[in-house]
Symmetry: C2
Subunit: 303 residues, 2 copies
Protein backbone atom coordinates (compact mmCIF):
# COMPACT_ATOMS: atom_id res chain seq x y z
CA UNK A 1 0.00 0.00 0.00
CA UNK A 2 1.51 3.29 -1.12
CA UNK A 3 1.00 6.53 0.79
CA UNK A 4 -1.71 8.74 -0.69
CA UNK A 5 -1.02 11.59 -3.09
CA UNK A 6 -2.19 13.93 -0.37
CA UNK A 7 0.68 12.76 1.86
CA UNK A 8 3.27 13.29 -0.86
CA UNK A 9 2.07 16.81 -1.52
CA UNK A 10 1.89 17.64 2.21
CA UNK A 11 5.40 16.27 2.75
CA UNK A 12 6.79 18.31 -0.11
CA UNK A 13 4.90 21.42 1.03
CA UNK A 14 6.37 21.01 4.51
CA UNK A 15 9.88 20.57 3.05
CA UNK A 16 9.51 23.81 1.09
CA UNK A 17 8.25 25.65 4.16
CA UNK A 18 11.12 24.38 6.30
CA UNK A 19 13.70 25.38 3.68
CA UNK A 20 12.21 28.87 3.43
CA UNK A 21 12.21 29.26 7.21
CA UNK A 22 15.80 27.99 7.55
CA UNK A 23 16.87 30.38 4.80
CA UNK A 24 15.29 33.23 6.75
CA UNK A 25 16.83 32.11 10.06
CA UNK A 26 20.23 31.95 8.34
CA UNK A 27 20.12 35.42 6.82
CA UNK A 28 22.59 38.19 7.63
CA UNK A 29 20.05 39.81 9.97
CA UNK A 30 21.44 39.68 13.52
CA UNK A 31 19.19 39.11 16.52
CA UNK A 32 19.35 40.84 19.90
CA UNK A 33 22.50 39.72 21.70
CA UNK A 34 24.40 38.92 18.48
CA UNK A 35 27.24 41.03 17.10
CA UNK A 36 27.69 40.08 13.45
CA UNK A 37 27.20 36.90 11.43
CA UNK A 38 30.26 35.98 9.35
CA UNK A 39 29.22 35.32 5.74
CA UNK A 40 31.42 32.23 5.32
CA UNK A 41 29.94 30.58 8.40
CA UNK A 42 26.41 31.41 7.27
CA UNK A 43 27.15 30.00 3.81
CA UNK A 44 28.46 26.73 5.28
CA UNK A 45 25.46 26.44 7.60
CA UNK A 46 23.10 27.06 4.67
CA UNK A 47 24.97 24.46 2.60
CA UNK A 48 24.49 21.97 5.41
CA UNK A 49 20.77 22.52 5.94
CA UNK A 50 19.44 23.55 2.52
CA UNK A 51 20.23 20.23 0.97
CA UNK A 52 16.97 19.11 -0.57
CA UNK A 53 16.23 16.64 2.19
CA UNK A 54 12.79 15.04 2.52
CA UNK A 55 12.39 16.73 5.95
CA UNK A 56 10.63 13.68 7.33
CA UNK A 57 11.44 14.59 10.96
CA UNK A 58 10.04 18.12 10.60
CA UNK A 59 6.96 16.68 8.92
CA UNK A 60 6.36 14.31 11.83
CA UNK A 61 6.61 17.20 14.30
CA UNK A 62 4.37 19.56 12.35
CA UNK A 63 1.79 16.89 11.56
CA UNK A 64 1.65 15.63 15.17
CA UNK A 65 1.11 19.20 16.32
CA UNK A 66 -1.57 19.81 13.68
CA UNK A 67 -3.38 16.60 14.62
CA UNK A 68 -3.45 17.76 18.25
CA UNK A 69 -4.80 21.19 17.37
CA UNK A 70 -1.71 23.44 17.51
CA UNK A 71 -1.69 26.51 15.29
CA UNK A 72 0.55 29.48 14.47
CA UNK A 73 4.22 29.48 13.41
CA UNK A 74 5.43 27.50 16.47
CA UNK A 75 5.38 23.97 15.04
CA UNK A 76 7.34 25.00 11.92
CA UNK A 77 9.91 26.77 14.10
CA UNK A 78 10.29 23.75 16.40
CA UNK A 79 10.62 21.60 13.28
CA UNK A 80 13.32 23.89 11.89
CA UNK A 81 15.20 23.58 15.21
CA UNK A 82 15.01 19.79 15.01
CA UNK A 83 16.28 19.91 11.42
CA UNK A 84 19.23 22.10 12.53
CA UNK A 85 20.25 19.38 14.99
CA UNK A 86 19.76 16.61 12.43
CA UNK A 87 21.86 18.50 9.85
CA UNK A 88 24.59 19.45 12.34
CA UNK A 89 24.98 15.74 13.10
CA UNK A 90 25.24 14.93 9.37
CA UNK A 91 27.92 17.61 8.87
CA UNK A 92 30.01 16.26 11.75
CA UNK A 93 29.40 12.59 10.87
CA UNK A 94 30.65 13.27 7.33
CA UNK A 95 34.01 14.67 8.57
CA UNK A 96 37.21 12.77 7.68
CA UNK A 97 37.73 11.83 11.35
CA UNK A 98 34.26 10.27 11.42
CA UNK A 99 32.63 8.60 8.37
CA UNK A 100 34.75 10.51 5.83
CA UNK A 101 32.04 11.05 3.23
CA UNK A 102 32.47 13.32 0.21
CA UNK A 103 28.86 13.23 -0.95
CA UNK A 104 25.55 13.88 0.78
CA UNK A 105 22.38 13.73 -1.30
CA UNK A 106 24.50 13.99 -4.43
CA UNK A 107 26.24 17.22 -3.36
CA UNK A 108 29.69 17.78 -1.83
CA UNK A 109 29.61 17.52 1.98
CA UNK A 110 30.27 20.74 3.93
CA UNK A 111 33.97 20.03 4.58
CA UNK A 112 34.42 19.34 0.86
CA UNK A 113 32.57 22.47 -0.28
CA UNK A 114 34.36 24.58 2.38
CA UNK A 115 37.01 23.09 4.68
CA UNK A 116 37.16 21.00 7.83
CA UNK A 117 37.42 23.86 10.32
CA UNK A 118 34.44 25.62 8.74
CA UNK A 119 32.44 22.37 8.75
CA UNK A 120 33.13 21.83 12.45
CA UNK A 121 32.04 25.39 13.25
CA UNK A 122 28.98 25.20 10.99
CA UNK A 123 27.83 22.07 12.81
CA UNK A 124 28.49 23.67 16.19
CA UNK A 125 26.59 26.83 15.30
CA UNK A 126 23.66 24.89 13.83
CA UNK A 127 23.27 23.07 17.12
CA UNK A 128 23.32 26.40 18.97
CA UNK A 129 20.80 27.88 16.55
CA UNK A 130 18.40 25.03 17.29
CA UNK A 131 18.21 25.98 20.96
CA UNK A 132 18.07 29.68 20.08
CA UNK A 133 14.99 29.03 17.93
CA UNK A 134 13.24 26.98 20.62
CA UNK A 135 13.89 29.48 23.44
CA UNK A 136 12.67 32.45 21.38
CA UNK A 137 9.21 33.78 22.22
CA UNK A 138 8.23 33.48 18.57
CA UNK A 139 8.09 29.69 19.02
CA UNK A 140 5.48 29.75 21.80
CA UNK A 141 4.17 32.42 24.15
CA UNK A 142 4.36 30.04 27.13
CA UNK A 143 7.93 29.74 28.48
CA UNK A 144 7.05 26.40 30.10
CA UNK A 145 6.46 24.97 26.63
CA UNK A 146 9.65 26.53 25.28
CA UNK A 147 11.66 25.04 28.16
CA UNK A 148 10.07 21.63 27.66
CA UNK A 149 10.97 21.73 23.96
CA UNK A 150 14.60 22.60 24.79
CA UNK A 151 14.80 19.80 27.33
CA UNK A 152 13.30 17.20 25.01
CA UNK A 153 15.65 18.16 22.17
CA UNK A 154 18.70 18.18 24.46
CA UNK A 155 17.92 14.77 25.97
CA UNK A 156 17.25 13.27 22.53
CA UNK A 157 20.39 14.59 20.90
CA UNK A 158 23.02 14.55 23.65
CA UNK A 159 25.29 12.02 25.31
CA UNK A 160 22.34 9.74 26.19
CA UNK A 161 20.76 10.11 22.72
CA UNK A 162 21.99 10.93 19.21
CA UNK A 163 25.61 11.84 20.06
CA UNK A 164 25.89 8.83 22.36
CA UNK A 165 24.55 6.63 19.56
CA UNK A 166 27.19 7.91 17.15
CA UNK A 167 29.83 7.12 19.79
CA UNK A 168 28.50 3.55 20.12
CA UNK A 169 28.51 3.21 16.33
CA UNK A 170 32.14 4.33 16.10
CA UNK A 171 33.52 2.34 19.00
CA UNK A 172 31.47 -0.80 18.54
CA UNK A 173 33.53 -3.74 17.36
CA UNK A 174 32.26 -3.76 13.80
CA UNK A 175 32.10 -7.48 13.10
CA UNK A 176 30.98 -8.81 16.46
CA UNK A 177 27.96 -6.65 17.14
CA UNK A 178 24.93 -8.43 18.49
CA UNK A 179 21.34 -7.71 17.48
CA UNK A 180 20.81 -6.06 20.89
CA UNK A 181 23.85 -3.81 20.50
CA UNK A 182 22.74 -2.70 17.05
CA UNK A 183 19.21 -1.98 18.27
CA UNK A 184 20.53 0.09 21.19
CA UNK A 185 22.91 2.04 18.95
CA UNK A 186 20.19 2.73 16.36
CA UNK A 187 17.59 3.72 18.94
CA UNK A 188 19.99 6.45 20.07
CA UNK A 189 21.70 7.49 16.84
CA UNK A 190 18.55 7.71 14.69
CA UNK A 191 15.60 6.82 16.88
CA UNK A 192 15.92 9.47 19.56
CA UNK A 193 15.47 12.40 17.18
CA UNK A 194 12.47 10.79 15.46
CA UNK A 195 10.96 10.18 18.88
CA UNK A 196 11.65 13.84 19.71
CA UNK A 197 9.78 14.95 16.56
CA UNK A 198 6.60 13.29 17.81
CA UNK A 199 7.12 14.31 21.45
CA UNK A 200 7.78 17.94 20.47
CA UNK A 201 4.58 17.97 18.40
CA UNK A 202 2.71 16.89 21.53
CA UNK A 203 4.53 19.40 23.77
CA UNK A 204 3.86 22.39 21.55
CA UNK A 205 0.17 21.45 21.37
CA UNK A 206 -0.05 21.44 25.16
CA UNK A 207 -1.18 17.78 25.02
CA UNK A 208 -1.83 15.93 28.29
CA UNK A 209 0.68 13.39 29.63
CA UNK A 210 -1.06 10.22 28.35
CA UNK A 211 -1.20 11.69 24.83
CA UNK A 212 2.44 12.72 25.06
CA UNK A 213 3.43 9.23 26.22
CA UNK A 214 1.46 7.65 23.37
CA UNK A 215 3.19 9.85 20.79
CA UNK A 216 6.61 9.16 22.28
CA UNK A 217 5.84 5.46 21.84
CA UNK A 218 4.66 6.09 18.27
CA UNK A 219 7.89 7.98 17.57
CA UNK A 220 10.02 5.17 19.02
CA UNK A 221 8.21 2.61 16.93
CA UNK A 222 8.54 4.39 13.61
CA UNK A 223 12.13 5.24 14.55
CA UNK A 224 12.88 1.51 14.67
CA UNK A 225 10.99 0.96 11.44
CA UNK A 226 12.84 3.83 9.77
CA UNK A 227 16.24 2.40 10.67
CA UNK A 228 15.28 -1.09 9.57
CA UNK A 229 14.05 0.32 6.23
CA UNK A 230 17.35 2.19 5.93
CA UNK A 231 19.33 -1.01 6.47
CA UNK A 232 17.19 -2.83 3.91
CA UNK A 233 17.68 0.00 1.38
CA UNK A 234 21.40 0.04 2.13
CA UNK A 235 21.45 -3.62 1.09
CA UNK A 236 19.21 -3.34 -1.96
CA UNK A 237 19.12 0.18 -3.45
CA UNK A 238 21.59 1.80 -5.82
CA UNK A 239 23.94 4.66 -4.98
CA UNK A 240 22.12 6.80 -7.51
CA UNK A 241 18.71 6.47 -5.87
CA UNK A 242 20.11 7.12 -2.38
CA UNK A 243 22.36 10.04 -3.37
CA UNK A 244 25.06 8.67 -1.09
CA UNK A 245 27.28 5.63 -0.95
CA UNK A 246 25.26 2.54 -0.14
CA UNK A 247 26.25 -0.87 1.19
CA UNK A 248 28.97 0.98 3.05
CA UNK A 249 28.38 -0.91 6.28
CA UNK A 250 28.47 -4.22 4.42
CA UNK A 251 31.59 -3.26 2.47
CA UNK A 252 33.33 -2.33 5.72
CA UNK A 253 32.37 -5.73 7.12
CA UNK A 254 30.11 -4.07 9.67
CA UNK A 255 27.29 -6.21 11.02
CA UNK A 256 23.83 -4.73 10.36
CA UNK A 257 20.44 -6.01 11.44
CA UNK A 258 19.85 -7.23 7.89
CA UNK A 259 23.13 -9.13 7.81
CA UNK A 260 22.32 -10.74 11.16
CA UNK A 261 18.65 -11.65 10.74
CA UNK A 262 18.34 -11.70 6.93
CA UNK A 263 16.35 -9.66 4.42
CA UNK A 264 13.05 -11.55 4.77
CA UNK A 265 13.02 -11.42 8.54
CA UNK A 266 13.91 -7.71 8.41
CA UNK A 267 11.00 -6.99 6.10
CA UNK A 268 8.63 -8.94 8.35
CA UNK A 269 9.87 -7.01 11.37
CA UNK A 270 9.46 -3.66 9.61
CA UNK A 271 5.91 -4.64 8.71
CA UNK A 272 5.09 -5.55 12.30
CA UNK A 273 6.50 -2.22 13.52
CA UNK A 274 4.34 -0.38 11.00
CA UNK A 275 1.31 -2.27 12.31
CA UNK A 276 2.19 -1.33 15.88
CA UNK A 277 2.73 2.33 14.99
CA UNK A 278 -0.58 2.51 13.18
CA UNK A 279 -2.50 1.00 16.06
CA UNK A 280 -0.98 3.58 18.45
CA UNK A 281 -2.71 6.26 16.36
CA UNK A 282 -6.17 4.65 16.50
CA UNK A 283 -7.52 6.93 19.25
CA UNK A 284 -7.03 9.93 16.94
CA UNK A 285 -9.24 8.49 14.19
CA UNK A 286 -9.29 10.18 10.81
CA UNK A 287 -7.19 13.11 12.09
CA UNK A 288 -4.20 10.74 12.14
CA UNK A 289 -4.46 9.87 8.44
CA UNK A 290 -1.34 11.78 7.37
CA UNK A 291 0.71 10.42 10.29
CA UNK A 292 -0.35 6.89 9.32
CA UNK A 293 0.82 7.70 5.78
CA UNK A 294 4.10 9.01 7.21
CA UNK A 295 4.60 5.77 9.12
CA UNK A 296 3.97 3.78 5.95
CA UNK A 297 6.35 6.01 4.06
CA UNK A 298 9.18 5.39 6.55
CA UNK A 299 8.89 1.66 5.88
CA UNK A 300 8.02 1.58 2.19
CA UNK A 301 10.12 4.43 0.76
CA UNK A 302 12.50 3.55 -2.05
CA UNK A 303 15.18 6.09 -1.08
Amino acid sequence: MQPTGDFQSQLSQCATGIATLLEELLSRKTLEGETTRPERLLAAMRHGVLNGGKRLRPFLLVETARMLGASGPGPMRAAAALECVHCYSLIHDDLPAMDDDDLRRGKPTVHKAFDEATAILAGDALQTLAFDILADEATHHDPAIRSALVLSLARSSGLGGMAGGQMLDIEGEATNRSVEEILLMQSMKTGALIRHACEAGAIISGADQPTRTRLVKFGETIGKAFQLADDILDETASTQAMGKQTAKDRDQGKATLVSLIGLDESRKKASALLQEATSLLEPFGARAALLVDAARFTVERSH
Copy 2:
Protein backbone atom coordinates in the same frame (compact mmCIF):
# COMPACT_ATOMS: atom_id res chain seq x y z
CA MET B 1 46.71 46.48 43.66
CA GLN B 2 46.31 42.72 44.09
CA PRO B 3 42.92 41.09 44.62
CA THR B 4 42.20 40.27 48.26
CA GLY B 5 42.82 36.89 49.79
CA ASP B 6 39.08 36.58 50.19
CA PHE B 7 38.70 36.74 46.39
CA GLN B 8 41.33 34.06 45.82
CA SER B 9 39.68 31.71 48.29
CA GLN B 10 36.19 32.38 46.86
CA LEU B 11 37.44 31.80 43.32
CA SER B 12 39.04 28.52 44.27
CA GLN B 13 35.97 27.44 46.26
CA CYS B 14 33.79 28.15 43.23
CA ALA B 15 36.15 26.18 40.97
CA THR B 16 35.93 23.18 43.30
CA GLY B 17 32.14 23.42 43.43
CA ILE B 18 31.87 23.62 39.64
CA ALA B 19 34.17 20.62 39.19
CA THR B 20 32.13 18.58 41.68
CA LEU B 21 28.88 19.53 39.95
CA LEU B 22 30.25 18.75 36.47
CA GLU B 23 31.51 15.40 37.76
CA GLU B 24 28.00 14.65 39.02
CA LEU B 25 26.35 15.81 35.78
CA LEU B 26 28.75 13.59 33.83
CA SER B 27 28.12 10.42 35.82
CA ARG B 28 26.71 7.23 34.34
CA LYS B 29 23.29 8.05 35.80
CA THR B 30 20.86 8.60 32.90
CA LEU B 31 18.12 11.23 33.05
CA GLU B 32 14.53 10.91 31.83
CA GLY B 33 14.54 10.75 28.02
CA GLU B 34 18.07 9.31 27.81
CA THR B 35 18.84 5.72 26.90
CA THR B 36 22.40 5.00 28.01
CA ARG B 37 25.57 7.06 28.35
CA PRO B 38 28.56 5.49 26.57
CA GLU B 39 31.54 5.35 28.95
CA ARG B 40 34.09 6.47 26.37
CA LEU B 41 32.08 9.57 25.50
CA LEU B 42 31.59 10.39 29.20
CA ALA B 43 35.31 9.97 29.82
CA ALA B 44 36.22 12.31 26.97
CA MET B 45 33.69 14.90 28.15
CA ARG B 46 35.07 14.69 31.69
CA HIS B 47 38.61 15.05 30.35
CA GLY B 48 37.52 18.19 28.51
CA VAL B 49 35.79 19.88 31.44
CA LEU B 50 37.64 18.63 34.52
CA ASN B 51 40.85 20.31 33.52
CA GLY B 52 41.79 22.37 36.54
CA GLY B 53 40.66 25.64 34.98
CA LYS B 54 40.30 28.79 37.07
CA ARG B 55 36.56 28.85 36.26
CA LEU B 56 36.55 32.62 35.98
CA ARG B 57 33.38 32.68 33.86
CA PRO B 58 31.43 30.52 36.32
CA PHE B 59 32.69 32.71 39.17
CA LEU B 60 31.42 35.85 37.42
CA LEU B 61 27.99 34.27 36.97
CA VAL B 62 27.71 32.95 40.51
CA GLU B 63 29.05 36.13 42.10
CA THR B 64 26.76 38.40 40.02
CA ALA B 65 23.80 36.27 41.08
CA ARG B 66 24.88 36.32 44.75
CA MET B 67 25.31 40.10 44.67
CA LEU B 68 21.77 40.44 43.32
CA GLY B 69 20.30 38.17 45.97
CA ALA B 70 19.85 34.83 44.17
CA SER B 71 20.02 31.68 46.27
CA GLY B 72 19.73 27.91 45.84
CA PRO B 73 21.59 25.61 43.42
CA GLY B 74 20.50 27.55 40.30
CA PRO B 75 23.49 29.87 39.84
CA MET B 76 26.00 26.99 40.14
CA ARG B 77 24.03 24.98 37.59
CA ALA B 78 23.86 27.91 35.16
CA ALA B 79 27.60 28.39 35.71
CA ALA B 80 28.24 24.71 34.96
CA ALA B 81 26.25 25.07 31.73
CA LEU B 82 28.35 28.06 30.72
CA GLU B 83 31.53 26.11 31.48
CA CYS B 84 30.29 23.22 29.31
CA VAL B 85 30.02 25.63 26.37
CA HIS B 86 33.40 27.19 27.10
CA CYS B 87 35.05 23.77 27.30
CA TYR B 88 33.30 22.42 24.19
CA SER B 89 34.74 25.35 22.27
CA LEU B 90 38.23 24.60 23.61
CA ILE B 91 37.97 20.94 22.60
CA HIS B 92 36.92 21.85 19.05
CA ASP B 93 39.41 24.76 18.76
CA ASP B 94 42.24 22.38 19.70
CA LEU B 95 41.42 19.93 16.86
CA PRO B 96 44.02 19.44 14.10
CA ALA B 97 41.70 21.12 11.55
CA MET B 98 41.52 24.20 13.80
CA ASP B 99 44.39 25.35 16.05
CA ASP B 100 46.02 21.89 16.21
CA ASP B 101 47.07 22.05 19.87
CA ASP B 102 48.44 19.05 21.74
CA LEU B 103 48.42 20.64 25.19
CA ARG B 104 45.77 22.43 27.21
CA ARG B 105 46.65 23.53 30.75
CA GLY B 106 49.61 21.16 30.68
CA LYS B 107 47.55 18.08 29.83
CA PRO B 108 46.97 16.33 26.49
CA THR B 109 44.02 17.84 24.59
CA VAL B 110 40.95 15.63 24.17
CA HIS B 111 41.80 14.46 20.64
CA LYS B 112 45.30 13.53 21.87
CA ALA B 113 44.06 11.66 24.96
CA PHE B 114 41.30 9.96 22.93
CA ASP B 115 40.95 10.48 19.16
CA GLU B 116 39.56 13.08 16.80
CA ALA B 117 36.13 11.54 16.32
CA THR B 118 35.65 11.20 20.06
CA ALA B 119 36.80 14.80 20.60
CA ILE B 120 34.29 16.10 18.04
CA LEU B 121 31.49 14.14 19.72
CA ALA B 122 32.56 15.14 23.23
CA GLY B 123 32.43 18.81 22.20
CA ASP B 124 29.05 18.34 20.56
CA ALA B 125 27.59 16.56 23.57
CA LEU B 126 28.99 19.15 26.02
CA GLN B 127 27.19 21.87 24.12
CA THR B 128 23.96 19.85 24.27
CA LEU B 129 24.45 19.20 27.98
CA ALA B 130 24.68 22.95 28.61
CA PHE B 131 21.17 23.53 27.27
CA ASP B 132 19.90 20.42 29.05
CA ILE B 133 21.14 21.82 32.37
CA LEU B 134 19.57 25.24 31.77
CA ALA B 135 16.17 23.88 30.70
CA ASP B 136 15.93 21.52 33.68
CA GLU B 137 13.60 22.56 36.50
CA ALA B 138 16.44 22.10 38.97
CA THR B 139 18.04 25.30 37.62
CA HIS B 140 15.03 27.54 38.37
CA HIS B 141 11.37 26.93 39.17
CA ASP B 142 10.29 29.68 36.75
CA PRO B 143 10.35 28.49 33.11
CA ALA B 144 10.56 32.11 31.91
CA ILE B 145 13.94 32.38 33.62
CA ARG B 146 15.08 29.02 32.23
CA SER B 147 14.10 30.09 28.71
CA ALA B 148 15.85 33.44 29.09
CA LEU B 149 19.03 31.65 30.21
CA VAL B 150 18.89 29.33 27.19
CA LEU B 151 18.36 32.26 24.84
CA SER B 152 21.21 34.31 26.34
CA LEU B 153 23.63 31.39 26.14
CA ALA B 154 22.60 30.53 22.57
CA ARG B 155 22.95 34.10 21.32
CA SER B 156 26.34 34.49 23.03
CA SER B 157 27.81 31.27 21.75
CA GLY B 158 26.34 30.84 18.27
CA LEU B 159 26.93 32.18 14.77
CA GLY B 160 26.65 35.79 15.97
CA GLY B 161 28.81 35.20 19.06
CA MET B 162 31.53 32.74 20.07
CA ALA B 163 31.36 30.39 17.04
CA GLY B 164 31.18 33.38 14.69
CA GLY B 165 34.22 34.88 16.41
CA GLN B 166 36.21 31.69 15.89
CA MET B 167 35.23 31.78 12.20
CA LEU B 168 36.47 35.39 11.93
CA ASP B 169 39.71 34.38 13.67
CA ILE B 170 40.30 31.53 11.22
CA GLU B 171 39.39 33.31 8.03
CA GLY B 172 40.87 36.72 8.87
CA GLU B 173 43.90 37.58 6.84
CA ALA B 174 46.45 37.06 9.58
CA THR B 175 48.91 39.82 8.82
CA ASN B 176 46.59 42.57 7.63
CA ARG B 177 44.10 42.67 10.45
CA SER B 178 43.13 46.12 11.65
CA VAL B 179 42.57 47.09 15.28
CA GLU B 180 38.81 47.23 14.58
CA GLU B 181 38.76 43.74 13.06
CA ILE B 182 40.67 42.30 16.01
CA LEU B 183 38.34 43.99 18.50
CA LEU B 184 35.26 42.65 16.69
CA MET B 185 36.68 39.13 16.51
CA GLN B 186 37.66 39.16 20.19
CA SER B 187 34.35 40.61 21.36
CA MET B 188 32.67 37.60 19.76
CA LYS B 189 35.18 34.81 20.33
CA THR B 190 35.93 35.56 23.98
CA GLY B 191 33.84 38.54 25.00
CA ALA B 192 30.36 37.18 24.31
CA LEU B 193 30.63 34.33 26.81
CA ILE B 194 32.05 36.61 29.54
CA ARG B 195 29.18 39.01 28.89
CA HIS B 196 26.78 36.05 29.13
CA ALA B 197 28.22 35.13 32.54
CA CYS B 198 27.22 38.52 33.95
CA GLU B 199 23.90 38.65 32.09
CA ALA B 200 22.95 35.15 33.25
CA GLY B 201 23.73 36.11 36.85
CA ALA B 202 21.26 38.98 36.47
CA ILE B 203 18.64 36.80 34.72
CA ILE B 204 18.68 34.08 37.36
CA SER B 205 18.32 36.71 40.11
CA GLY B 206 15.21 38.08 38.43
CA ALA B 207 16.92 41.48 38.19
CA ASP B 208 15.08 44.37 36.48
CA GLN B 209 16.03 45.48 32.97
CA PRO B 210 18.28 48.46 33.95
CA THR B 211 20.29 46.20 36.27
CA ARG B 212 20.55 43.54 33.57
CA THR B 213 21.71 46.15 31.04
CA ARG B 214 24.31 47.46 33.50
CA LEU B 215 25.70 43.99 34.11
CA VAL B 216 25.79 43.23 30.40
CA LYS B 217 27.89 46.38 30.00
CA PHE B 218 30.11 45.31 32.91
CA GLY B 219 30.55 41.91 31.26
CA GLU B 220 31.45 43.47 27.91
CA THR B 221 34.00 45.74 29.55
CA ILE B 222 35.82 43.05 31.49
CA GLY B 223 35.60 40.83 28.42
CA LYS B 224 37.66 43.38 26.52
CA ALA B 225 40.06 43.73 29.47
CA PHE B 226 40.39 39.96 29.71
CA GLN B 227 41.34 39.58 26.07
CA LEU B 228 43.81 42.45 26.23
CA ALA B 229 45.41 40.88 29.31
CA ASP B 230 45.57 37.58 27.41
CA ASP B 231 47.36 39.23 24.49
CA ILE B 232 49.80 40.93 26.89
CA LEU B 233 50.47 37.62 28.66
CA ASP B 234 50.86 35.87 25.32
CA GLU B 235 53.63 38.37 24.56
CA THR B 236 55.35 38.29 27.96
CA ALA B 237 54.66 35.09 29.93
CA SER B 238 56.39 31.74 29.64
CA THR B 239 54.84 28.54 28.31
CA GLN B 240 55.27 26.99 31.74
CA ALA B 241 53.19 29.61 33.56
CA MET B 242 50.41 29.50 30.95
CA GLY B 243 50.27 25.71 30.60
CA LYS B 244 49.90 26.11 26.85
CA GLN B 245 51.99 27.34 23.96
CA THR B 246 52.43 31.11 24.16
CA ALA B 247 53.46 33.69 21.59
CA LYS B 248 51.72 31.47 19.08
CA ASP B 249 49.94 34.34 17.34
CA ARG B 250 53.22 36.26 17.08
CA ASP B 251 55.11 33.20 15.84
CA GLN B 252 52.47 32.67 13.15
CA GLY B 253 52.89 36.28 12.08
CA LYS B 254 49.33 37.05 13.23
CA ALA B 255 48.60 40.64 14.12
CA THR B 256 47.44 41.08 17.73
CA LEU B 257 46.30 44.22 19.51
CA VAL B 258 49.65 44.31 21.33
CA SER B 259 51.61 44.06 18.09
CA LEU B 260 49.53 46.87 16.57
CA ILE B 261 49.35 49.36 19.45
CA GLY B 262 52.35 48.28 21.53
CA LEU B 263 52.77 46.88 25.04
CA ASP B 264 52.60 50.21 26.90
CA GLU B 265 49.47 51.39 25.14
CA SER B 266 47.88 47.98 25.71
CA ARG B 267 48.56 48.15 29.43
CA LYS B 268 47.12 51.67 29.62
CA LYS B 269 44.02 50.54 27.75
CA ALA B 270 43.55 47.53 30.06
CA SER B 271 43.83 49.85 33.03
CA ALA B 272 41.18 52.19 31.64
CA LEU B 273 38.83 49.27 31.01
CA LEU B 274 39.31 48.12 34.60
CA GLN B 275 38.42 51.63 35.77
CA GLU B 276 35.29 51.62 33.62
CA ALA B 277 34.23 48.18 34.83
CA THR B 278 34.68 49.18 38.46
CA SER B 279 32.62 52.32 38.08
CA LEU B 280 29.77 50.31 36.55
CA LEU B 281 29.56 48.42 39.84
CA GLU B 282 29.35 51.54 42.04
CA PRO B 283 25.55 51.41 42.53
CA PHE B 284 25.97 48.02 44.26
CA GLY B 285 28.35 49.38 46.91
CA ALA B 286 30.15 46.95 49.16
CA ARG B 287 28.16 43.98 47.83
CA ALA B 288 30.16 44.28 44.61
CA ALA B 289 33.54 43.88 46.34
CA LEU B 290 34.24 40.39 44.99
CA LEU B 291 33.17 41.36 41.46
CA VAL B 292 35.52 44.33 41.61
CA ASP B 293 38.26 41.91 42.66
CA ALA B 294 37.33 39.64 39.76
CA ALA B 295 37.62 42.56 37.34
CA ARG B 296 41.06 43.38 38.76
CA PHE B 297 42.06 39.75 38.47
CA THR B 298 41.15 39.58 34.78
CA VAL B 299 43.58 42.42 34.11
CA GLU B 300 46.34 41.73 36.57
CA ARG B 301 46.57 37.92 36.54
CA SER B 302 49.95 36.44 35.69
CA HIS B 303 48.56 33.33 33.91
